[in-house]
Amino acid sequence: MPASENRPFCACSTPGGVSGIAVIRMSGKGSFEVAGKVFRILRAAGDVKDISSMEGYTAALARAFDPETGNTVDDCVITVFRAPHSYTGDDMVEISCHGGVAVKQELIRILTENGARAALPGEFTKTAFLNGKLDLTEAEAVMNVIASDSERALRASNTQLGGALKRELNEAEDKLYEALSKIEMMVEFPEHDDTPENTREVLDIITKVRETFISLRDSYKKGKVLSERMKVALCGLPNSGKSSLLNSLTGYDRAIVTEVAGTTRDTLEVEVNVNGIPVTLIDTAGIRETDDRIEAMGVERAREASFESDLVLYLAAPDMPSDEMTGQIRDLIAGGVDKGSMAVVFSKSDLGTNSSSEKIMSECRAMGIESFISVSSVDRIYLEELKNFITDRYENLGGTASSETILINKRHALLIEESVGYLDMGIDAIENDMGLDAASSVLRLALDKTGEITGKSVSSELVDNIFSRFCIGK
């Protein structure tokens, strides 16, 4: 028996659960032999009788059976890809079977008993990478495509997959190389009067690249939402209408709502899709001062949830004491909630105008809060306004990032952040006459960091980190 690593590997590439059809993929040398044992061709182009003689990019209707018992499992469509013209670059078979859980399990069992093995997490993409089919950035983007669960996230991943990020970074790198070569000219040929002595030019280049990196870095605030969802916290006094607002937001959208176990039994998190943006709504416990120890803990957690959110909606109902409400808003801001990401929502507007709304608004404006909305959980028009508000908020995350490219990957964001740090040091070194040698040293470090994204530099941890995060099947 060959070493297990040399056997073809297989996995189901469509999500778990029941679906109309499912796709099982098998890759590696011997895939056709394994498939040949398990499938009998019923109909194929050119009257081909066995899988091994099928041409690449052709399909066949085939019956899967267990060679041991002879029992039929399912009728499937088999597509054959021949190396190197496949996703992984090796021989591949794609099996479209019926989507029942039992069918899938049975097929994988039979395949693995007949010479294949189960794929490791990320193994398809890792193999594609090893065969030179994808570079590291593309491989990472594939992972993000798989993990993304909204249209916008998919678009951002696809931009990266198409290499937009790489293009933008390549341009920045070229500029840094230009700055470096100017420095090197000055340093290497000091006797020559005709070398550029103009450190100003170098400084200008670095400053411009820094701006690009800053906007890229900031775009991650938006990108993070794409890969990790936008967090919207609903706060307010008990009975200010948080839960009903939550229900109407989820119900109206008819999104598949999964109740994620909240971080505590005191906050409830609901995942919802707002105009294509993946949002986690956090229904916090009503905030109020309390002597009850357990309730106090819940309230504390509610506060924490607000601090970690991208948007905090403070609900003010018409019949509630305005001083208490503005006091709480003040506490939240004092406690660290960004006033720019806070909005006051006048809830239950169907019950009549909020008599104290003017007073609350003027006090909140004094605190620097600019956003006020009226909603009624029974009136769809109001709800639409709130949803648009959330969308706007999302668009403004990460400031007015000029770059088209949005960073969706935390590793990238961290590397860019480090790069910015080095550029700052370089600017500092030049401005303070610390020497061109120090400046060039940190510029090179900045390039090393971007190189880890563009694949121009490589560290030993990098490769493992990337592939260990892949889910199975891709």
């Binding site: 690593e5 990478f129 090893l130 090197e184 005709d194 070194a429 040698d437 040293s441 694949g455 490589v458």
Partner: protein, 648 residues
């Protein structure tokens, strides 16, 4: 290929002697190699084609310069001799880049050319265990094409040896070009080396052919210096040799000036009208020339947007009128050279004493070498200097000392000495040559060093003297002095960190003079030094407890403190570098089977077979993506090994 026994059967051959190490060629590489071997107690013989041209400076009459100055300091730190001889023969000294940060400070000195040669010769003549012999070595003697056993001269003399270091410079099968006139000659009209190259080729060593060139020399009497820019030396800089520095030696106080001029429109016209007569452009020269030291016609051809180029006029010595025109190397014909020179300001009446010429020579492909500079296929055969594809005296000396040390280690049966890229320019130079190879004469440049802030000229002793001592090239006495310098540096750094001074009028005055703000509370001297523009000397009035220290100690302390933040980052980078350097590549790895590698990478890796991933990453044609593939493959390889063992 002959064994000594075969050679003896030929007519007129005889055994002339038995040595531990034979060094062929007494240029800057050969002198260092022979000196190192002899100092390490080995019976050594050094051959030269012409004794009066030992350690010749056939091109620039100067030693040092950007990155080259660092190399000279490193060679000295290891126990080499170039720096010491250069200190004795300097007639003008400068520290280049003194305004651009300590990492790129580069010492450079004009030499009295003939004095350098004579001084080196005399020094080596007085070195124990060393025999110097004028002879033309024409072939290598080996056992089974695999192991060096001796060398044979044109007179049939056989010298048996256990290891051989070949430092043939630009002499092997050399041809010089002066316009249409081609001579089978070495540099400066010296005899060329014939036969040795063929002998290497027969051993299966891959050979290349390069070209380089040198400019004209004019008589000082015929030069009008009033039309030139004067460039004086600096007398307040350290000598090349750390040993000299510790012994209180200073650079000469009386120095001679250099001069510079710019080419004129007429220069350009003369060159373009005669371009067809350049052997470079008519295709007569086959060898590849250097990009970094191009001939003047090359400069005009390649940089068409530049209307003029700078030329330096440098003295060749104190007892000669010859002046060297740096930047004016050419292979155009003699009469064109005269027109070209006379088109330069101040040189309209110039009398040319020696013509410029291009020279073409055979060399070994450095990819066939180990990092010890020993051949990968022939045991005991070492090469150093221009034969390995480098250019420059300092690059040659750096390889010479490493080849010499390793030849000696081989004979003594000891561990080889390899300097990695994080420890010296020497390491960068050799690693570049043996892993990347070169397709033009390789010139050292500071930008080739990744860890430049560490690889400074001032700390070369800190980096390499312990290695020199362990190897046996540094005397006890020198090492003790070195250790006491280290102690001074450490103690003074500690003192500066621990000494806090309170704000005072005096401090305020110092700080305000450079536009810095006086702190409101106490601050350590070390913190003050980290501020831009503040120097150790400046703080004297507020630093009452300071004791007198050497200038070298102060410079080291000051630099390491001032650049602490940057150095820390570079140190982290070095650690990362070592990580890849420590990932060994198994010798049985089948690169052909790793399909993720691009074809070029697969072929290069298979041919060069690097010892570790770090080295693989520096091979040209191997991209970071290939390295990523290798890393993933290695992981799988490691996992698979034990499994395969248990399954079979």
């Amino acid at each position: 290929m002959f064994t000594p026994e075969d050679a003896l059967k030929k007519e007129n051959t005889y055994i002339a002697g038995t040595y531990d190490v034979a060094v062929v060629g007494a240029g800057h590489a050969g002198c260092e190699a022979a000196h190192a071997c002899a100092r390490l107690g080995l019976d050594t013989i050094l051959f030269t084609l012409q004794l009066d041209s030992l350690a010749n400076l056939p091109c620039n009459p100067s030693i040092g310069g950007t990155s080259k100055g660092q190399l000279v300091r490193e060679v000295d730190a290891l126990g080499g001799i170039m720096g010491k001889i250069a200190d004795k023969c300097a007639i003008q000294t400068r520290m280049l880049n003194s305004s651009k940060g300590p990492a790129v400070h580069s010492p450079r000195a004009q030499m009295d050319r003939s004095m350098y040669s004579v001084t080196m010769k005399h020094y080596l003549e007085n070195t124990d265990n060393l025999t110097i012999k004028q002879a033309h070595i024409t072939s290598l003697l080996t056992k089974g094409d695999k192991e060096v056993t001796g060398v044979m001269s044109s007179t049939g003399a056989i010298y048996l040896c256990k290891a051989c270091v070949i430092c043939s410079g630009t002499y092997m099968e050399a041809k010089t070009f002066l316009g249409e006139v081609i001579n089978e000659s070495g540099p400066d009209g010296l005899p060329r080396s014939v036969g040795l190259s063929a002998s290497l080729k027969e051993l299966g060593i891959p050979m290349l052919r390069f070209k380089t060139g040198t400019p004209v020399r004019v008589n000082k009497k015929s030069v009008d210096f009033s039309k030139m820019q004067r460039q004086d030396g600096e007398t307040d800089i350290p000598p090349f040799s750390f040993e000299n520095e510790m012994n209180g030696y200073t650079v000469p106080s009386e120095q001679v000036p250099c001069w510079s001029v710019w080419t004129t429109d007429e220069t350009r016209t003369v060159i373009s009208e005669n371009m067809h007569r350049s052997p470079l452009y008519s295709g007569v020269i086959e060898g590849v020339g250097p990009r970094y030291c191009p001939s003047i016609e090359d400069k005009f051809m390649r940089f068409k947007d530049k209307s003029r180029h700078q030329i330096f006029v440098e003295p060749m010595g104190l007892n000669t009128n010859e002046m060297y025109l740096q930047g004016f190397s050419t292979s155009l014909p003699e009469e064109v050279q005269e027109k070209m020179v006379r088109s330069l300001p101040g040189l309209s009446e110039a009398v040319i004493q020696r013509n410029a010429y291009a020279i073409e020579y055979d060399l070994v492909d450095p990819l066939s070498l180990k990092a010890t500079l020993e051949s990968k296929t022939v045991t005991g055969l070492f090469t150093a200097g221009q034969i390995n594809g480098s250019s420059g005296y300092e690059e040659a000396a750096a390889q010479g000392i490493i080849a010499g040390i390793n030849a000696a280690m081989k004979v003594l049966g000891k561990e080889p000495v390899v300097i990695d890229r994080s420890r010296g320019y020497i390491g960068v130079l050799i690693d570049d040559l043996v892993t990347k190879g070169t397709n033009e004469p390789y010139r050292m440049m500071t930008s080739r060093a990744e860890y430049r802030l560490f690889l400074r000229q001032d700390n070369a002793d800190q980096r390499l003297t312990p290695t020199g001592y362990k190897t046996g090239l540094i005397s006890e006495e020198r090492y003790e002095k070195f250790m006491s310098k280290m102690k001074d540096i450490e103690e003074e750094t500690e003192r500066l960190r621990k000494t806090y001074i309170s704000p005072s009028e005096e401090l305020k005055k110092i700080l305000e003079s450079i536009g810095s703000v006086c702190p409101v509370s106490g601050i350590s001297l070390a913190e003050l030094l980290k501020r831009p523009k503040i120097t150790y000397d400046m703080l004297e009035p507020v630093d009452k407890d300071r004791r007198p220290l050497g200038r070298d100690v102060i410079f080291a302390v000051e630099t390491d403190l001032k650049y602490e933040g940057y150095l820390k980052l570079e140190k982290e980078k070095i650690e990362k570098f070592k990580e890849l350097e420590n990932k060994e590549l198994p010798s049985d790895i089948d690169y052909g089977a790793i399909s993720g590698l691009r074809l070029e990478a697969r072929q290069k890796l298979d041919r060069i077979r690097p010892e570790n991933v770090g080295r693989a990453s520096r091979i040209s044609g191997v991209s970071p993506a290939d390295i990523a593939v290798l890393l993933v493959y290695l992981e799988a390889y490691r996992k698979r090994r034990p499994k395969e063992g248990s399954e079979t």
